[in-house]
Symmetry: C2
Subunit: 324 residues, 2 copies
Amino acid sequence: MSHRNYAIVGTGALGGFYGARLQKAGFEVHFLLRSDYDRVKKHGLIIESPEGDFTLPQVRAYRDANKMLKCDVVILALKTTQNHCLPKVLPPLLKDNSVVLVLQNGLDTEPEVAKIVGDDRVIGGLCFLCSYKVSPGHICHLDYGTITLGEYARDYQPTGITNRMHQIARDFKHAGIPIKMSEDLLLSRWKKLVWNIPYNALSVILDARTDELMANPDTLALVEEIMAEVIAGAKSCDRIISNDFIETMLERTHKMKPYRTSMKIDYDESRPLEVDAILGNPLRIAQKAGIQLPQISVLYRMLKFMDAQKQEAERTRRLLTVDS
Amino acid sequence: MSHRNYAIVGTGALGGFYGARLQKAGFEVHFLLRSDYDRVKKHGLIIESPEGDFTLPQVRAYRDANKMLKCDVVILALKTTQNHCLPKVLPPLLKDNSVVLVLQNGLDTEPEVAKIVGDDRVIGGLCFLCSYKVSPGHICHLDYGTITLGEYARDYQPTGITNRMHQIARDFKHAGIPIKMSEDLLLSRWKKLVWNIPYNALSVILDARTDELMANPDTLALVEEIMAEVIAGAKSCDRIISNDFIETMLERTHKMKPYRTSMKIDYDESRPLEVDAILGNPLRIAQKAGIQLPQISVLYRMLKFMDAQKQEAERTRRLLTVDS
């Protein structure tokens, strides 16, 4: 086993789950937290999982990045809506040869991180995980868990599979986390969007589960049309995804249990939506290449409206709670 | 004053209002009703209006078209979602020189009526009216009321302003109903859709009033983009609407009181939505001419889904109400 140590930036349903699995496997893991700090510092982490429940009564918890040890691998597991914190949070955690593993949704976050830490120390990771936070430090893992790793290089140039990817993959596999490798991070990110854009957006806008979207002929057709637009977006970046991939995604979704998407969970819990990472950035990238994605643009604008209305209501609710 | 008599098919917030105004002005009016028949037969119609409240204690009410007198002008004021009834309802009401005045929303209902009654006896009417039904036979008029008349000819060929239009206009004006005349019914219908498609659709999908849609920069941009698509749809029918018309519509909406659209009222009251008349038919007509309207297509499919979900919930609710 390696002696690489890990920092988890964002100890929620995703970061908390993977961090806990790494610590349980014997790795030194440092957890950065904000609102959940007190609870996790005192009681550690509780993981429920079909692969076995476990508790870590003690974890290395921090609420200030400046007081953390510099780590070999910094796992970025914040929601992208928190990325304005990164210029403050990331630099204190990095040694010369540290690498940042971006386990975030959507597109164009690796270049954002690279601007802060340098082009040569960013790896992307695409998570296929169903988990949610029951309460601070208490995470319920429902299903799946595979991470697809892909090394980042400037402008998302394909890198093939690097040594560093192999090293991290070994650690994760040792911790029981299934790993796939991608030779082309940008292609993988676009492929993930083929699923993520239609289902995340429509589940929020139409207040619907995946099975309801699949059962209605109009939303099923809409999902297909939007998937085709995502493929057109990928093509604007010279990434070719076959149209057969749409059929594969639809079949997979038909077989899935009824599923509440991550954006729908965020919306239901009044958290800001990752609209820009998942829809806005792909739209803008395609637009720069001269390609319009009119249907995704509709979804984007609707979600921006819903997000703004929800956050406004949330602010009002908090004010009223404080007043009363 | 003319001796033309009138039939009102669909005595709701719109048909009831115009019919009552005509009767109050001295015209002979026959009202066809379904669920509200008993109440209206017994108690007549009550109209509340900023232009003056009035009651008609006795009206000629019918629940069977076959028992009605044949009328000079048959005013079709049903929701388009009820148009499957027309082949049964319309023929018994018609004399040789009767004309059907279609006061319905959306596009392509005049040809449907013409198939039943003949191309040469259909006039279209576009209503700009805010009113709602308080209870059976009790209608509250809020604002506006103008009708734009346009004669229908096969394939919506422009007809100019006909004698028949003048006659009906005179009667309506006599009843205090403001009338405009259109030389090209299809152009008028498309122009109305420039407002109706974005606001009706977005108010339902986003659960929003017009003022909320105008205040948010993303929905405002979306409204503009959709209006531009409606203009492209009109162009596919060789009807040219200037892009300045978008600015005119936006300004008018900015000045309006916060407004719940007719589709939003239908949705909130669990009535079927006029999705096909307002969005589906324009989409299909443009598509036949080889023009895609991708953003309107998104709205259409979303509304079809929401309508199906709502009607399914409504069926379940009714079953439960009967059982308990």
